[in-house]
Structures are given as structure tokens and as C-alpha cells.
């Protein structure tokens, strides 16, 4: 036990861990030349054991064998650093005061924690927050809140730790940042929202999660939608028996990325020979698995799923289908809309392989919707260079009495219902907007820890520099 404590007590361990993280980050950067950012994140940073591909360190023209090196992943290094940090501080930074000073220090510490919590939970912030002016004051205010918390905590540290106050505070800030990022890695959800001018939309598309949706429209009052989540679609070879559908679904293959649909006529014979006999779009279009897109170019993967339907009672095949995200209008910025129509027992099912759809709700549980009035795309005169993108929207939540005209533009998002709506893209001919919708409840932590570390570090360095210069004169 003692040896374990001593192991974690060593600053050499800190140096080793930090060096390992350098290597990991470097490899993770190089890997993005040919891999998607999300894959790299899972393979290198958001894991306990990273798999570093050997070939990332060499020019891509060289023929490097496809080997990977096991390496401590981001989570592992992060947690070891956290333990190391806490142990070192526990052992060498003891509370240095007694009596009244100690009590005052503890009081300030408690106060600091309350202020920090208040900042995270957004006390005193308007429920619908969008800006019409520049980012300046908004961000300044947030950093100001962070500074307030940092100063209170610094006072507490001075009372408790005297000269080592800055050290303790800055490492506390780092710890806070690491924990916050860990929470973000686990909890943050990214989605998009595509709205044509004049259209009202009440759902978002989760960027990292797919689903297969069967929509049956025969009832005059409502549609019946059956959704199969991504985790079921990834079980290759299994047969699903979804309730509410008269057929079973066999998963032949789930493709992380697939090529843009091409007419089968243009595809060489030997490739077509291996192409399954599909019903629907697959009967005339060629869609097949393709390697992942590179994170560097900012492209997105287009997953597809290869399924076969079976009649539940007789067990006969109802045809094999390729269902691709390429057929989903919001993926192709509404360039086309290609639902696969499947008719079984006289009922027609409109089928989409699409982003996981979440209907918008405010924290009180009331649904809300967004209407796009106008999308503005300004360019610099005499160039094709974008100057400004802006969406003029109408936000309505009847249950919460929210009815607001708002503007979402570059660098100026809307914050509402614990989500943030950012201007992110647009539809062809500027006919509509694409908003990035992010939910991240720990988003204020970086603001706080930035200021905490800044205050701690600045205090420490100025203190020691001053000491040196005074001694030197």
C-alpha cells in the first residue's frame, strides 16, 4: 500500500503521464489525416486503452503494415493524472493555519463552492438567451462570473494555504476542467435541425445515432411510426421481431459509411456480380460500404443498413433492401427525398434510415417548435467569401408561454431549454438553414476553470518572480 502511495506521490509520474499524453495527442492528430474525428476520438481519447495505428507516423504513400500499438488511452491517462494530483496535494499541501483563520478559510471555501455551483446552474440567466449585438459582452460576462468564483476561492486558499495558495488553486482548476471534460465526453449530445424557409420543425436529428423508421399512414387521424434503434441494427446476422410490424427484419450488414448512390449502369460488371439483389432503390442504384471519411476535411459518414424482410407467419422473404442515410432528405440538405415504400398485407410503410429523431421539449415537459422566417447569406462584395449567415426564427412553446422572434447568426447562438442552437449551415440556394443543436449541461465548467487556473497561476508566478527580482537587486 505504501509503495502504491509513493508511486502516486511522485512528480516523475506526472512527467511520465504528461509525456504519454503528448504522444497520444500527436498520434491522434496525425490519425485525422484519414479518419473521421469521431472515430479518432473513440480510438484514442475517449477510451482507456488506445490503439495507435503504426501507419499514422509515416507518409501515406509508404506501405506500412496494418499494425496497431496498444497505448494508454485518454481516460486512463486522465484518471491517473487526477489520482496523482490529488495524492500529491494531499501529502504535500497541508492546511497551514489554525483557529479563526482556518474557519474563515473554510467559510470562504464554502462560499466559493456555492458561487461555482450557481454559475454552473445558470442562476440569474434568462431562460431564452440570444444576442442581437456582438459576442463581446456576453462572453465577458461569463468570464466575469468565472473570475468571481475564482477570486472567492483564491481568498479561501490564501487563508488556508498561505504562500502555496496559487499552486493549490490552479491545480484545483485543472482537476475541475478534467472532470468537466469527462462529464462532457459522456453526456454531451450533438444534433442538427434542418428548416426550410417558412417551415416549422419540432424535432432534432442526433448526429451520432441512427435509427430505422417505418411510418404507416393509413389511419386518417394519425400516423403510426415504428422505430428500430441503431444498437439493434448493428447486430449483424440477427433477425428482429419488432412489435407493431407484420414482418421480421434480418440484418445482413451495417455499414459505417457508404458511397453516394450511383446508377448501376455505370458500375463495372465484376463489382455488380457481388452486389446483392435488392428491392426498392437498391434495384437500380449502387450503394455499398466504403472506408470512413477523413476528419480533416470535415466530411460526414453516411451509414447504410442492408436488411431483408420476412413474412412473420409464413417466413417467406419479402425482399432485401439497402436503406441508406443518403435517402434521408436532411442528410443531403434537402437536395432529394427518397423514402423506401414497403407494402405488406395491403399496408404501405414509408421507410427511412435516418438520424435518431428527438422531439423538442423544454425542461418543464412542454413541446416547442421553431419556424424559420428568413435565412440571410451575405457575401463580401465582389467575392464568393461568406460574410454573414443568419436565421430569423420564431420560437413557440405554448405550454411555457414563450413566443419569441429571434435571430441566430454566426458566433451568436440561441440558448434555450438547456440546448444551444448554433448557425451551422444552409440549404442549396439559401432556401433554408441548418442549425447545430447541442446539449451539454457542463458547458460553463471550462469558463470557470479557465479563470480559476488563470488566477492561481498568475498569483503564483508573479509571487515567485517578485521574490527573485527583490532578492536579486
Amino acid at each position: 500500500m505504501k509503495r502504491l502511495v509513493n508511486f502516486f506521490l511522485s512528480l516523475k509520474l506526472t512527467v511520465v503521464l504528461l509525456s504519454l499524453s503528448m504522444v497520444l495527442i500527436f498520434a491522434g492528430t496525425l490519425a485525422q489525416v484519414d479518419q473521421g474525428i469521431w472515430t479518432v476520438m473513440d480510438q484514442y481519447f475517449r477510451c482507456f486503452l488506445a490503439e495507435i495505428d503504426l501507419h499514422v507516423f509515416f507518409p501515406r504513400s509508404m506501405n506500412i503494415p496494418n499494425l496497431w500499438i496498444p497505448f494508454p488511452g485518454g481516460f486512463l491517462i486522465g484518471w491517473l493524472l487526477v489520482i496523482n494530483l490529488i495524492t500529491v496535494h494531499w501529502a504535500s499541501f497541508k492546511v497551514q493555519t489554525n483557529g479563526g483563520r482556518r474557519i474563515a478559510g473554510l467559510v470562504f471555501m464554502g462560499l466559493g463552492v456555492i458561487v461555482t455551483l450557481g454559475v454552473i446552474l445558470g442562476w440569474g440567466v434568462a431562460p431564452v438567451a440570444a444576442t442581437d449585438s456582438d459576442a463581446f459582452w456576453r462572453v465577458f460576462l461569463r468570464l466575469g462570473r468565472g473570475t468571481l468564483a475564482a477570486v472567492v476561492l483564491y481568498i479561501a486558499c490564501v487563508l488556508l494555504y498561505r504562500k502555496r495558495a496559487g499552486m493549490v488553486l490552479l491545480h484545483g482548476g485543472i482537476l475541475f476542467l478534467l472532470v468537466g471534460e469527462f462529464a462532457t465526453a459522456l453526456c454531451a449530445v450533438e444534433a442538427t435541425m434542418t428548416i426550410r424557409e417558412g417551415e416549422t420543425v419540432n424535432f432534432i436529428d442526433h448526429s451520432q445515432k441512427m435509427e430505422l423508421a417505418f411510418i404507416e399512414t393509413s389511419h386518417p387521424d394519425f400516423d403510426t411510426t415504428t422505430v428500430i434503434p441503431q444498437r439493434d441494427l448493428m447486430k449483424k446476422g440477427t433477425t428482429l421481431h419488432p412489435a407493431g410490424l407484420p414482418f421480421d427484419i434480418k440484418i445482413h450488414r451495417y455499414m459505417i459509411n457508404s458511397n453516394r448512390p450511383q446508377p448501376k449502369e455505370g458500375i463495372p460488371e465484376h463489382i455488380l456480380a457481388r452486389y446483392p439483389q435488392y428491392e426498392g432503390y437498391g434495384s437500380r442504384l449502387y450503394v455499398a460500404e466504403q472506408s470512413e471519411v477523413s476528419g480533416i476535411k470535415g466530411l460526414r459518414n453516411a451509414p447504410s443498413v442492408d436488411v431483408e424482410l420476412f413474412d412473420r407467419t409464413t417466413g417467406t422473404s419479402l425482399g432485401r433492401y439497402i436503406l441508406s442515410l443518403w435517402f434521408y432528405p436532411n442528410f443531403v440538405n434537402r437536395t432529394w427525398d427518397m423514402p423506401t415504400q414497403i407494402t405488406v398485407d395491403g399496408k404501405t410503410y414509408t421507410t427511412y434510415f435516418r438520424f435518431h429523431r428527438e422531439y423538442l421539449k423544454s425542461p418543464s415537459g412542454n413541446p416547442f417548435s421553431v419556424t424559420l422566417h428568413d435565412f440571410v447569406h451575405e457575401k463580401y462584395e465582389g467575392t464568393q467569401m461568406p460574410k454573414d449567415f443568419a436565421s430569423q426564427i420564431h420560437l413557440v412553446n405554448e405550454g411555457d408561454n414563450v413566443d419569441r422572434e429571434l435571430r441566430i447568426w454566426m458566433n451568436n447562438p440561441l440558448r434555450y431549454a438547456r440546448r444551444t442552437f448554433y448557425q451551422s449551415g444552409y440549404l442549396p440556394d439559401d432556401s433554408g438553414t441548418v442549425l447545430q443543436v447541442v446539449r451539454n449541461d457542463s458547458w460553463m465548467i471550462p469558463y470557470l476553470s479557465c479563470m480559476i487556473v488563470f488566477v492561481g497561476m498568475a498569483a503564483q508566478f508573479i509571487q515567485s518572480l517578485g521574490r527573485y527580482i527583490r532578492r536579486g537587486v
Binding site: L11, M22, A135, K297, E381, T383, N440, W443, F461
Partner: protein, 589 residues
């Protein structure tokens, strides 16, 4: 007494050095008033600028120089531009197209030349070949393009740009009727590209317009076609057209008259277009950055000598010179902020200028904080960093306007000011520590200058610089994350540029923890500080070579080469420092 005399002399020298070349060459009233023409406004790349700037930038893109050298004589950019757009035959013979790739040259059937610069006449017979090769290169996906393709595209882009500029100044009044529709279509297409808009907004027309389209509206045939809808000719366009004709015909009097009329008319119609123009011409003429760079080099030489042989007076004089080269450097950055309306760092070019500026500033601060103990080390580190970064900036300027407009995503003054400046200061501090470390190693291994006291002082200098580097790079990196969070909802995305910045933070943290944990002493600290320079170079330039997302605001091919040279040289210095200390000339310190 003697000291202040020397200082006065140094200041006088600096002032004389900066004023040279600012005054335009004398023009007799009967000559073409090229200087005045250079002051006219033009909008290109979304920014209003004087013709002088436009001509210089265009020439820089084509030939990497701001003047043309013709038979040993220097021709100003404005004159070259006028000759070209007026269609004077002489324009064909300016050697302005720089093509340095041998494969491209041989595929175009051109001979290799000492300065790699070719005239339009040289290129004319090969334009078809070039176009075909370029089309096939443009058609490929980026990954499939080889070096030849990229070079062909570069050359072709130069030619297309030049041709588009020529077209933008065409006078369509002589075009026969049957070609009118085709010409109109061609002009409409051209307006989708980046072309110079020379006709400012005026009472007749609210937008900036290129000359050829403004003139086309008044084509006699077109007027007939429009029948009753009489189009009012834009008087500014007509003056401009007359000016260009006069220039082509060599009629200086008429050129000057038309120029005066044009200027007077614009002055009364839309005086705001002249704002800032003469200041920008002055800024161009001053060329403060190149001059500061030259002075920094002198400072470096003087200080090196003074430091090695402990000549205090020399170090003092060098410090004064550095301060007086630093002042114009500062003012020129302020001028850029004033002219562009953006914070000081917006692209790779301005980051280089700013890092150089901050490094010199840091050198001055080191000199003033450590006083006698610095013994000129602040001069040395500051001046060499200032010189090298300004040199880098000079080579980066080849992309054209260095005060270009910002893409929508990046256009927020707040973040540009806070994040970008803090992070660049972090780069700067890491670099400065690295440079001091390089001196530590060189002085230790090669000279006897590194005694116990000097070693301790240099160590202190490196240590405090690294402390500030850590502080600045940490805050800068986190602010960058906050910008990302504020703009597109992702505090940390493991984007290559973010990773680069993070690596600097971690490297500095490793240094400090290794020091606190007593894993390294002075020499180790110096060696690792040199490593800090490598990490910074990777983050500043290397990451861009991966051609990446939003952050990759600068991509240049020769940059990869120089980056490799820098990294290898730094590794060599680390190796040198690893030589056991008993072999060091200064011995064990």
C-alpha cells in the same frame, strides 16, 4: 555624456533608415501622374484599398516581389499595372510570372532561367497546354494530386487571376454587335469571380462595379437595343476609360486631366471612398516590417559580439537600436489594425508579425527586468526572433492581400482579440525560452562565456519565460475552446490545431514539473526548452500542413520544407547539448 551621444547617433541612424524610400519619386507636371493614380480607390477581395496596394499585391502574387525589374531598372507596381490593363505592348515583356518548378517549365516547353520569371509573351504560345494540364489537375481529388498537379494549379491560378484582372478593365465599346450578347454573358460570369471593382458607389449606382460592366451598359449598339430605356452612362466609368485610353496612346496631358476630373467628381459624389487611402499608400511605401527586420539583424550582430566579449557599451547601443526599430514595428501593427479594422492577428502572416513584435517586446522586458544580469541576452533573443519571424512573414505575404477580409465563422472581434492574441503570446514566450536555451547550449559547448553566474541567470530567464508561456498558452487554449463552445457548441473537439496548442501547454507543464520534481537541472531545462520551440513550430505551421478544417488559415508547400529544416536544426542543437559536460568548453556549470 559619451553614452548619450552614442544613443543619439543610433537613434539618428534608425530615423534615417526608416525615412528612406517613403517619398515618391519626383513627377513633373507633364509626366503621367502615377502617384495620384495609385491613390484611387478600388475594391478587391471584399476590401477597399488604394490602387497602389492592389498593384503591389497582384504583383506579389505573380512574382513574389513588389516591383518589376526590367533591364536593370525598377518599375513600380502601379506603372506595371497601368501598362498591363491599358494594353500597352510593353506590358507583354515584363518578366513577372514566377514559375520555379522544373517539371512545369519543361511541360510548358520553357527554358530554366536564373530568376524563374517569365513574360506574358513567353507564356502566350503555351497557354493552351497549361490550361489542359490545369483542368485535369483541378478535376482530381485532392489526395490524388501530386506535386506537379499542385504546381500546375498554382501557375494556372496566377494566369487566370491576371487574365481576369485584364478583362475587368476592358473597354467593350469597340465590340461588334454580333458579339455583344456573348460578351455580356462573359462579363456576368466574370463577376462571380474575384475581380477588381474600380468604380466606387456614386449617385448613379449604389454598388462597387468593375469597369467593363459599367462601360458595357453604354455600348452604342446596346443603347439602340434598349430603345426607350435610356441607360445613363456612369460618368466615373467614362473618365476611367478615357484615362486608360490616354495612357495607352501616351497622352500625358489628357490622362492627367481625366484623372483630375475623376478624382474631383468622386470627391464631391462620395468623399468617404477616399478615407484611409493615402495613409495606406504611406504604409506601403514605409515598408516598416522589412526595415525593422534588417535593423534587428544588426542588433543581433552587435549584441552577439557585445555579449561574448562583455562589451557593455555595445550592448547598450544595440538595445537602443532595438527599441527604435521596435517603435516603427509597433506603429505599423497599429496601422494595420486601423486600416483593416480587425485585431492585430487574423492570418498566418499577421501572426508572424505579431509574434516577432511580442518577442522583441519580451526581449526589451527581459533587459529591463534583469538589467545587468541580462547582459544583452534580451537583445539577442528578441532581435533574432524578431528578424526570423519578420522574414517568415515576408515569405507568407506571397498570397496577396495581407489584410484580407475574414470568413464569417472567424469574424468576431472579441475572440480574435482575446484568444488569438493570448495564444500567439504563448507561442512567442515558448519560442523566446527556446532561443535563450539555444544560446545556453552554444555558449556552453563552444565558448568559455557560460560561467556559473551567467548560467544561473540564463536559467532564471528561461524558467520565468516558460512560466509565462504556460500561463499564456493555457489561457489562450482554453479561450479557443470557449470560442468553439460559443460559436458551434463544442468546447473541445480534438481538432488538430487545438491539439497543437494543447501540446504546447503540456510540454511547458512537463518542463515545470520535471524541474519541481528535480528530474532535470539547468542543462536539462535548456534542452527541453529547445524542444518547446519544436512543439510550437509544429502547432504554428506543422498542423496546417495536414490541411485541416477551420483553423488552417495558411497552407504553403515550401513551408513544410522550412519547417523540417527548423525541426532538424533544433534536434541537432539538442544533440549538441547532450554532449557530456566535461567536453563543454565552459566546463561543468
Amino acid at each position: 555624456m559619451r553614452r548619450s551621444l552614442i544613443n543619439l547617433l543610433v537613434i539618428g541612424f534608425a530615423l534615417w533608415f526608416f525615412q528612406s524610400g517613403v517619398k515618391p519619386p519626383m513627377e513633373a507636371p507633364s509626366d503621367f501622374q502615377l502617384n495620384a493614380f495609385g491613390h484611387l480607390p478600388v475594391k478587391f477581395g471584399g476590401r477597399k484599398k488604394p490602387v497602389d496596394t492592389f498593384a503591389r499585391n497582384l504583383l506579389t502574387v505573380l512574382s513574389d516581389k513588389q516591383t518589376v525589374r526590367l533591364d536593370g531598372e525598377k518599375v513600380s507596381a502601379v506603372q506595371w499595372l497601368l501598362d498591363s490593363i491599358c494594353g500597352r505592348p510593353a506590358a507583354l515583356d515584363y518578366p513577372v510570372f514566377r514559375i520555379e518548378n522544373l517539371d512545369v517549365l519543361s511541360s510548358l516547353g520553357l527554358e530554366e532561367r536564373p530568376r524563374f520569371r517569365y513574360t506574358y509573351r513567353d507564356l502566350l504560345p503555351h497557354l493552351g497546354t497549361l490550361d489542359t494540364a490545369a483542368r485535369s489537375a483541378f478535376g482530381k481529388e485532392d489526395r490524388q494530386r501530386d506535386l506537379y498537379d499542385k504546381q500546375i494549379m498554382k501557375v494556372a491560378n496566377k494566369i487566370y487571376l491576371f487574365q481576369n484582372v485584364l478583362s475587368a478593365f476592358e473597354d467593350p465599346s469597340g465590340i461588334p454587335e454580333e458579339q455583344l450578347i456573348a460578351t455580356a454573358q462573359r462579363y456576368m460570369q466574370l463577376e462571380n469571380y474575384s475581380i477588381p471593382l474600380i468604380i466606387p458607389p456614386n449617385s448613379g449606382n449604389p454598388r462597387w462595379r468593375p469597369l467593363m460592366s459599367s462601360l458595357l451598359a453604354t455600348h452604342p449598339e446596346l443603347e439602340q437595343m434598349m430603345g426607350n430605356h435610356k441607360i445613363v452612362a456612369d460618368p466615373l466609368a467614362q473618365h476611367m476609360a478615357a484615362m486608360l485610353t490616354a495612357y495607352r496612346e501616351g497622352d500625358a496631358t489628357r490622362f492627367n486631366d481625366e484623372l483630375m476630373d475623376y478624382g474631383r467628381r468622386l470627391q464631391s459624389d462620395n468623399p468617404a471612398t477616399f478615407e484611409k487611402l493615402s495613409f495606406e499608400v504611406f504604409y506601403n511605401r514605409l515598408g516598416a516590417f522589412m526595415k525593422s527586420a534588417q535593423l534587428y539583424l544588426i542588433v543581433f550582430m552587435l549584441s552577439l559580439f557585445g555579449w561574448l566579449f562583455r562589451k557593455e557599451r555595445l550592448v547598450d547601443a544595440a538595445r537602443t537600436l532595438m527599441i527604435f526599430a521596435f517603435i516603427p514595428h509597433t506603429l505599423a501593427i497599429v496601422a494595420r489594425v486601423f486600416l483593416s479594422g480587425y485585431p492585430p492577428v487574423t492570418n498566418l502572416y499577421s501572426s508572424a508579425i505579431f509574434i516577432g513584435w511580442a518577442a522583441v517586446g519580451a526581449g526589451i522586458v527581459i533587459e529591463l527586468t534583469f538589467r545587468k544580469k541580462a547582459a544583452g541576452m534580451g537583445n539577442l533573443a528578441g532581435s533574432i526572433a524578431g528578424f526570423l519571424t519578420l522574414l517568415v512573414a515576408h515569405f507568407l505575404a506571397g498570397d496577396g492581400d495581407t489584410m484580407e477580409q475574414m470568413r464569417a465563422v472567424l469574424d468576431t472581434r472579441f475572440w480574435l482579440t482575446t484568444h488569438v492574441i493570448t495564444i500567439t503570446l504563448g507561442y512567442m514566450a515558448t519560442f523566446v525560452a527556446g532561443i535563450v536555451a539555444v544560446f545556453y547550449i552554444f555558449a556552453g559547448v563552444l565558448t568559455r562565456r557560460l560561467d556559473e553566474e551567467t548560467g544561473e541567470n540564463l536559467y532564471r530567464m528561461m524558467y520565468s519565460t516558460i512560466c509565462f508561456a504556460l500561463l499564456l498558452s493555457f489561457v489562450g487554449t482554453v479561450l479557443g475552446g470557449l470560442w468553439a463552445d460559443d460559436s458551434w457548441g463544442r468546447f473541445w473537439g480534438w481538432d488538430p490545431k487545438e491539439n497543437g496548442a494543447l501540446m504546447i501547454v503540456i510540454w511547458n507543464a512537463i518542463l515545470l514539473h520535471a524541474k519541481y520534481g528535480k528530474s532535470i537541472a539547468r542543462r536539462g531545462f535548456a534542452l527541453m526548452s529547445v524542444g518547446g520551440g519544436i512543439v510550437t513550430a509544429w502547432s504554428w505551421f506543422g498542423v496546417n500542413q495536414l490541411s485541416v478544417g477551420l483553423h488552417s488559415y495558411g497552407f504553403t508547400q515550401s513551408a513544410s520544407f522550412w519547417l523540417m529544416v527548423f525541426v532538424l536544426s533544433q534536434f541537432a542543437i539538442i544533440m549538441l547539448g547532450l554532449v557530456p559536460q566535461r567536453f563543454w568548453k565552459s566546463g561543468r556549470v
